[in-house]
Symmetry: C2
Subunit: 142 residues, 2 copies
Amino acid sequence: MTSPIDPLTLEVVELIGTIVARYYEEYEEAAAKHSLTGAQARVLGLLTGGPTPMRRLAQQLKCEPSNVTGIVDRLESRGLAERRLDPADRRVKLAAATEAGRETSQRLRGSLDFAREPLAELTEEERTVLRDLLKRMLGATP
Amino acid sequence: MTSPIDPLTLEVVELIGTIVARYYEEYEEAAAKHSLTGAQARVLGLLTGGPTPMRRLAQQLKCEPSNVTGIVDRLESRGLAERRLDPADRRVKLAAATEAGRETSQRLRGSLDFAREPLAELTEEERTVLRDLLKRMLGATP
DNA sequence: CTGGATATTTCATGTTGTCAAGTAAATGGG
DNA sequence: CCCATTTACTTGACAACATGAAATATCCAG
């Protein structure tokens, strides 16, 4: 199926692997600086889009709904999130960021320097090229 | 410190975030297909470089050595890895992949289509440009 | 109104991660 | 040589995350 992979492709794949590792590392580190785990930070980030049903959070995190219960529990116990009832469907609970949660999430986002700082090395034209190449890569497997 | 971020940079950052998420997802999925967790797959991958002290594995995974103990335990109990004594220093234990472990790791690597498949969409010249841009990004924060 | 589907939680269990304490072995200064 | 320190690994206690099965409450179609 996949004939001998050319060295160039292999090199790019490896670079992407390195970027993934570094991005993850920085993300966890930034979350920890705000006393959050990576999972908590991700959920809090999702909640900035507005109150969200537990089920939807599970879909976005690609995990089981029962797992989200615990994560939101922990956010709630710190006053960063709260559960609301959905007036339209009494089965669903909407997780929502509190004011403190929104602030924390925003500070966290601001401290995510990776990818932003290194990009400063590139000219605007180069960033445009990079954007288009990445978009085509992502568009290739929808 | 960071003035209003230009939209282009923001877009690239977001694209990288998407790539990271997709890469992780595919990696975990591929590992699961071989009955491995992500952490086990990563360690097994590191072991293809030859027998490695537990300490070194911890450094490469950026976690505590005590954590590696458990991961190698689980690999060992499945016959995918083994511990050897280092003749040069009797304190250290070298984790090594067994033949079965090497096979599993190789099959897993072969099933990691992400980043390889999408790259086929790009011409060789484009991949070269992409490689150089990524290298400069990574080189910027050593 | 009833039966099936859906949303959430709880519980049991396993993996990953941290930290502190303990054992064993190397190493260096007196 | 000897002892104090450092280094490598493991163990144990504990928290977070993740899955799957079962329980509860609600919705909705027929």
